[in-house]
Amino acid sequence: MSAVEDRHDDDAELVRRTLSNDRDAFGGLYERYRERVFRVAYHFVHNKADALDLCQEVFVRAYESLASFRGEARFSTWLMRIASNTCVDFCRQARVRKAGELDEGMITGDERLPETTSTPRPTAGLEREEARAALEAAIAQLTPEHRAVFILHAVEEMSYEEIAQAVGCPIGTVMSRLHYARKRLRGLLAWFDRS
């Protein structure tokens, strides 16, 4: 049996035990997936405290809806769906928050993004740290829906099919959103190209 299938069986066993009121079993799922959920949340909100809060919210929602997990898809994919929905909801609600009242600051994106009209340039010349910072600032400019697809692919290296299952849309929509996310990022990053 492959490692992936082993993990799938382990997760299913932990879910079964959790539904039998074994809270330690849910703790096992938490330890196994907390970093993945945190990474996704962090790249949505760029704030460690908010990301940890979102991480908590994701696991609470997962616990509350665990009975609906049928085991046909992988638990990780099911959990990523909850993570993606939770983060998208948070970003949508955060759009109406007053900026001055945010602690530490959370980057929100806007719906309409500027596209450079000049020929887009590759970012080969950026120093690594500056490039990372520029990319993270640009990701924050994506709509929550585009951000979800981009983060699940770029950060979690999920396949298009897995992302489609996680966000609940056709693979063609995943492909389209990821393509336009990269185009928009390219447009924003073009202003910060030294080469």
Binding site: L102, Q141, R186
Partner: protein, 169 residues
Amino acid sequence: MNECPIEIQLTAYLDGELPTDQATSVEAHFASCPACAQEMAALRSVKEMEGGLSAPEVSKHEWDRAWDAISKRIEAPRRRALGFRWRWLAFAAAAAALLATAASIRSLQTRPANPMAAVPKNECIVDYVETSGGYSSMYSYSPDADVTIITLVPSAAPEEPPDHASGKS
């Protein structure tokens, strides 16, 4: 001459998600289409940057504290789990909606402080940026570069084309 592939095939090709026959067709197309080759190079440059994304470390103490909070909530009486931040958000959303209808500014966009650099060396800290009248902004500063920049651009972005897979328009 081949017809240019639909744009989104370029991203799928880059990610190795195209079936073999379509991938072969796209590769053959690049040899004769400088525009698509250039577009691919630009997309590849973004993809190459993706590997540099990282998240901060979380200590064992922080993980344990988060687990304690989760445990308390899942053991609490069954009710809608809205934490303090989320209740505040709901209140702020209602208050902001009220203010927005009284304001005369169009396309209000709010951008809070950038958390990526706490206090940059040049000590120019952006606390608040707001645009209107069809503009968008982004700002960044790098502590090492000593530079704080706020960029203002028109926000006329092209519409995403219809989802060809689902047939929606």
